[in-house]
């Protein structure tokens, strides 16, 4: 007879001293855990509910400007610093953590329309409708001491006056050139008082421009002739141009996939393009009910934030066709500029009501340092929520957002209009010769043509 029975001595399965950690034994056998799916589903549901309870995205407002905020720039040297320019010519540097102005940069006579920093964080470029470009040396921030409200008023290190008003500026990611947008695209060297190069394609005003983070000589502009134009600084003429049915207010490259960019369009949508293949948009991001004014990608490249004329800030997944999050407050007016901070946890929006607002990028995220155990748990909850997100109950809770009545009604109206338009097209198709009106996907519908 051979016999063995389970025999556990207490010493082997419990800790020796009270200072020791408890011994943990795992057995992943599915037989031990009955009704696994029901348990996971319940957890996912509870997690979705908790997310709703903890969703407090608004961190605070930064008050100080006396006119609408028109543009912002991030400071690559400091996570908690941000520059903002307003319509009355005021430029301020903010300490986000203290939500206070650190210093001001006076000098512009009219509205400041563009702000950019060099990648080393030492140089701030501003431009405005007073036809000047001003270069500022960024002061070393004494972020610890924020009591001196408006500290040393700095003087511009250079002022360049040029022929036309400026609407936007951007600095190269790798290199020391910067470009301004206005009646034409000008390329500047900070050491020269005149642009080293100028580009023009047609006679329309250029509204915004952005350098490619991957290829430092490529830049994209949007212009009031409804075009998106790609430029290469190494050649003497613009490279390609795309004309849409409505104009784009702003463009932004995806920092992790630098061949892709997203354009914020006047027709309430955002269009993601592959720069190599401009004949159709890759994804149309819908959701806003009024013109999209500004767009900025998260440094992870997985999502981007948009600010709109409809007084909301929305966050989209880079592959998502609808917004993942909608932020609004009663006091926030038309949003003119938005920025993701460099760590991807916060958003800053600047709006018509002279305030900068600070938001969390994940509405229910717990801020501060998490214990490894807390982080694990959060990851687990996110994973099961992702897994059960299609179930009606979880989906309903997860998707529900309260909207101001005006926006809610406007969205309904827009939906009705779009449905009517589609139905009309469908009927016309039915009554026309077969094949004469092919169905065009929405990705292509708003594009007129591509010009080489």
């Amino acid at each position: 007879m051979r016999v063995k029975v389970i025999s556990r001595s207490t010493d082997e399965f419990t800790r020796e001293r009270s200072q020791d950690l408890q011994k943990v034994f795992r057995n992943y056998d599915p037989g031990l855990r009955s009704q696994e799916k029901a348990v996971e589903y319940t957890r996912a549901l509870n997690a979705a509910k908790l997310d709703k309870i903890f969703a407090k995205p608004f961190v605070g407002a930064m008050d100080g400007h006396v006119d609408a905020i028109s543009c912002m720039a991030k400071n690559p040297n400091h996570l908690k610093a941000i520059f903002s320019g307003s319509m009355d010519g005021d430029i301020r540097l903010w300490d986000i953590a203290a939500r206070k102005t650190v210093c001001q940069f006076p000098g512009h006579q009219g509205a400041v329309r563009g702000l950019a920093t060099s990648m080393d964080g030492d140089l701030l470029v501003s431009c405005g409708v007073d036809c000047t470009v001003r270069l500022w040396k960024v002061p070393m921030l004494k972020m610890v001491d924020t009591s001196d409200h408006t500290g040393d008023n700095s003087q511009p290190s250079a002022v360049f006056t040029w022929k036309h008003a400026f609407l936007g500026v951007d600095h190269q990611w790798d290199g020391n050139l910067f470009a301004t947008a206005g009646a034409q695209v000008d390329i500047w060297d900070p050491n020269r008082s005149e642009p080293i190069n100028s580009f023009q394609w047609g006679n329309d005003t250029v509204l915004s421009l952005r350098f490619d983070p991957g290829e430092c000589n490529i830049l994209i502009t949007s212009a009031s002739d409804r075009s998106l134009t790609l430029y290469d600084l190494r050649t003497s003429s613009p490279a390609r141009k795309l004309i849409m049915k409505t104009r784009c207010n702003s463009v932004c490259w995806n920092p992790r996939e630098p061949m892709n960019f997203t354009a914020a369009n006047e027709d309430t949508n955002c269009y993601s393009f592959d720069a190599r293949k401009l004949d159709e948009a890759k994804i149309v991001h819908k959701g806003h009910v009024s013109a999209v004014m500004d767009i900025d990608y998260s440094p992870t490249g997985r999502e981007f934030v948009t600010g709109s004329y409809d007084r909301t800030v929305r966050i989209f997944n880079y592959f998502g066709d609808h917004s993942r999050e909608i932020y609004h407050t009663k006091r926030m007016q038309r949003v003119f500029c938005v920025k993701y901070t460099y760590d991807g946890t916060y958003l800053v929006s600047g709006s018509d009501d002279t305030n900068l607002r600070l938001w969390k990028s994940k509405a229910s995220e717990q801020l501060g340092v998490l214990l490894p155990r807390e982080r694990k748990r959060q990851e687990y909850l996110d994973a099961i929520k992702e897994r059960y997100k299609h179930l009606p109950e979880v989906k309903r809770i997860d998707r529900h957002r309260h909207l101001p009545k005006a926006i809610y009604n406007a969205a309904n109206l827009r939906r009705t209009m779009i449905e009517a338009e589609n139905q009309k097209a469908e009927r016309r198709r039915k009554h026309s010769a077969p094949g004469s009106m092919p169905v065009q996907p929405f990705r292509k519908r708003r594009i007129i043509k591509e010009v080489e």
Partner: protein, 530 residues
């Protein structure tokens, strides 16, 4: 040399096979068939997900050798002449280690019996209920008596709630809930004279069946009475919860076994299992096997996927229980028999244990995570060693027999956070979060009916008639015949479409639709909203 190489190859092959079996266990069924998907994005996402599942299953299989320190028990004869059921408890006791040999015991309590027993889900605590009112709770790890008291009335059944802090006792008139110290916490009058109690751990539901055959479900965390159903099959005290899906199985005097969930008035399943009353029901941990016994001297093993008998033994049993590793214990009079591999083809008697003559075994119950069978009988309680019955490796976060107070508190809170709603009790618990197969289309749409009708009319019109004599093929007659044919062809379709429209025969009252002029509205029967 060559044979050595062959040997190593064989060893490798064996190891591979073993790993594959383990992977199959951890992968929880087959992966989804993604080839039918046309959405490329979704397909890519799901493929990545499936890959991840496969990887985690493989990881679990690879590491389980290191994570699981204890090996399962066994009892094997040395040669073909020995039989494992011939071994007596004394023989087994001689062979096992010292710690295990202290575990079996016989407690003779002749006055207040017969006794029923119950273990907590981690197997640490035992609750004992004597028919004549004796209640005791014991810590089986240290063999401590925690509390013992008399309720001085009939005790029919006992059951632990989520842990040993609370337990329910079915007494003479009502079930009561006591705490660890024997203090009465609640009297559950709504249940009536309960004969049998069961606790659904994940749902926090206490189920009872009373002498009128009424099944009650009560949520013990909120106190809400979730459901109250009449079984309509008379008085019974045979009730068991299926640990796989928390469905309750009840055996009735008519030989039927019915299965219940808290959200349906009718039983989910009614099966005729025996000719004559059912005496015991037990469910396997895997949820696919059910054992029933009846007074018709049969013990039957059922496959719950097909509702078919797998095995039928000619034996009596007053009480049945499945162990965690699939052994089946049956009690008959003073004898306890244990079968092995009852779901498979080579099921056989594994062990036999005979109590003192004249003892009537009332309840057999395997102790979770131990190789021990607890026996409650007319003269007290016993426990015997059954090697290979218990799950050797516990999971600290599922059930921990060595739990500290702090861990217990933590677990209680987590259990309450993860409390399942009563709707999650269903026959197939894996149905949650799957897509229901599209229903067969039963009703045709109006358009389809019309099309079919037109076809039929066309066919009827084109029917060629034989030429007949004596004026029966006059044009007028032919036209009339044709009309009749068309009408006959039409009729079934007309009826069908009538059904769809939902009896249009009833005319709506005309008066209600008419909008009265404003001046006359005050004379209308109901005040019309303007």
């Amino acid at each position: 040399m060559a044979s050595a190489r062959l040997d190593t190859e064989k060893v490798k092959q064996d190891a591979q096979d073993e790993l594959e079996m383990k992977v199959a266990k951890y992968s929880r069924g087959k992966g989804a068939d993604l080839k039918v998907l046309r959405d490329k994005k979704l397909k890519a996402q799901l493929t990545a997900r499936e890959k991840l599942y496969g990887k985690s299953a493989k990881d679990a299989a690879m590491t389980d050798k290191w994570l699981m320190p204890t090996e399962g028990g066994f009892l094997e004869p040395e040669n073909d002449l020995e039989k494992s059921y011939r071994f007596k408890q004394d023989d087994v006791l001689k062979e096992v280690d010292l710690l295990s040999s202290t575990k079996p015991f016989d407690m003779i309590l002749p006055v207040l019996g017969p006794y029923t027993i119950e273990y907590t889900s981690n197997g640490r605590y035992m609750l004992v209920g004597g028919r004549k009112g004796h209640l005791a709770m014991m810590d089986m790890l240290n063999m401590d008596l925690i509390k013992e008291f008399q309720v001085r009335e009939t005790v029919r059944d006992v059951t632990f709630l989520h842990n040993e802090q609370l337990y329910a006792v079915a007494q003479k008139k009502y079930p009561y809930i006591y705490n660890r110290h024997g203090t009465e916490i609640h009297c559950l009058k709504e249940h009536g004279k309960a004969l049998k109690l069961q606790f659904l751990t994940k749902q926090f539901l206490l189920a009872s069946i009373n002498s009128f055959g009424q099944l009650h479900y009560q949520d013990v965390s909120t106190g809400e009475m979730v459901a109250n159903y009449r079984t309509g099959l008379g008085r019974t005290d045979v009730m068991r919860v299926n640990p796989y899906n928390a469905v309750i199985g009840i055996g009735h005097a008519s030989g039927k076994v019915t299965m219940w969930k808290p959200t349906s008035v009718k039983p989910l399943v009614t099966m005729l299992c025996h000719h004559g009353p059912v005496t015991a029901v037990a469910f396997d941990r895997g949820g696919h096997l059910m054992a029933t016994s009846g007074v018709d001297r049969k013990i039957k093993i059922w496959d719950l996927r097909k509702y078919e008998v797998v095995h039928s033994y000619a034996a009596r049993a007053q009480s049945l229980d499945f162990s965690e590793r699939g052994l089946l214990a049956c009690s008959n009079g003073s004898q306890v028999e244990i079968y092995r591999n009852v779901g498979g083809h080579d099921s056989k008697l594994y062990m036999k244990h005979r109590m003192m003559k004249g003892y009537q075994v009332g309840k057999v119950l395997f102790r979770p995570y131990e190789d021990i069978l607890g026996i409650g009988h007319s003269m007290g309680l016993s426990s015997i060693l059954v090697p290979g019955s218990g799950e050797p490796n516990f999971d600290t976060f599922v059930n921990n027999p060595m739990e500290t107070t702090k861990q217990k508190r933590e677990k209680e809170v987590h259990a309450l956070l993860d409390k399942l709603p009563p709707e999650t009790v269903m026959l197939n618990p894996n149905m949650i979060a799957t897509v229901r197969a599209p229903k067969k289309k039963e009703k045709k749409t109006k358009k389809e009916i019309e099309e079919e009708m037109e076809d039929a009319i066309e066919a009827a019109k084109n029917l060629e008639r034989k030429k007949k004599t004596k004026g029966r093929s006059k044009p007028s007659k032919r036209a009339k015949k044709k009309e009749e044919d068309v009408f006959r062809a039409k009729r079934p379709f007309l009826e069908e479409s009538k059904e769809i429209e939902g009896q249009p025969g009833k005319k709506q009252r005309v008066g209600e639709k008419v909008e009265l002029p404003k001046a006359l509205q005050r004379f209308a029967k109901k005040p019309q909203s303007s």
